[in-house]
Amino acid sequence: MADPMRIRAVARDGAVNVKVLVAHEMETGQRKDASGKLVPPHFISNVRATYQGKVVLSAQWGPAVAKNPFLEFTFKGGRKGDKIVVTWEDSKGESRTDESTIN
């Protein structure tokens, strides 16, 4: 199973700043291994962040996003002590969901 994400969320001036570190290979499908064979693509295709059941961020990613990607975003209206939930799905259909309490 995939490693957990590191999520930090801080409420400031009526908005919540969220920083997410994702552990993922993000293979483009363009690279070749030592024996010259193409390394099959394996990348995160969808990212979703929800706050109290409402989607606050939804993104479609492609192979151009870096390995172990870092995502930072801000949304309005979040409160300290509540939870933010982040989910990703990748091109192989694997997924992972983690949550963090807003500070």
Binding site: D3, R6, K19, L21, A23, A66, K67, N68, F70, E72
Partner: protein, 288 residues
Amino acid sequence: MNRRSIKLKVVVALAGLAVVCAAHAQKKEAAAPSKKAAASATRDAVTTEFEKFRELMEDASPAELFEARGEALWKAKRGPKNASLEQCDLGLGPGVLKGAYVQMPRYFADADRVMDAERRIVHCMVTLQGFKAEDLAKQPFSSESRTPDPVLLVTYVAGQSRGMKIAIPQKHAKEREIFGIGREIYNFRAGPWDFSCASCHGEDGKRIRTQELPNFTSKEQAIRAFQGWPGYRMTGGLMHTLQWRLNDCFRQQRFPEPGYVSETLTALLTYVGANANGHVYKGPGIKR
């Protein structure tokens, strides 16, 4: 033609292909001062830009992902003896991690020798968990397919000293002895290029390609040997420790590569590390 000028010619010929220390590059550039000025302006811009990027990434470094994996590994019961590393003594008592990393290399009475962080952790894996040192030394460095256990463990332990001052002890006679040995190795010129560590890291303002090289003999710059290590390298996205960094320095000097967690590396880390005493360590970092 004397030996030195022959060597200079060979190095200049290789400049396009190989990594060349600025000790030689400077001689070449002396003939074209305007070119040199232009090169240094570009270098500063590149370095400044990367510094900005590093600052941005510092509170969200992918190194943290490796720290988390290392923590799970530290606490897990593993190896032939089915034990965790929680009883591992890193110099401040069994299981005490806070501040341990910034106080190694240090003398360990149970092993009767000075050990650096990675060497000590490997020692614990062998004595507490029953792993074989030979097995751990087989593939000690990170590759595309694998991050070795000691790398994850060192990254976790290093993270427990974030924001603390480097305080490598020099009280025990063996600690002072190995500091002296480290200084000897640092200045020892050998190999096909007649290099020593000091050839590149012995005076200010040297570089390899665009990478500025710290002068570790200076108190102000010695911290740069520890800062950012263990480091997540953007190139390839691999996590590396100081064992790898020093090994690669040996390789670049065309030296025989040192054994994994060998006495030689402990000596070098003691010498450079103790020079950096008093500086604040920022934890596992990010490298180009």
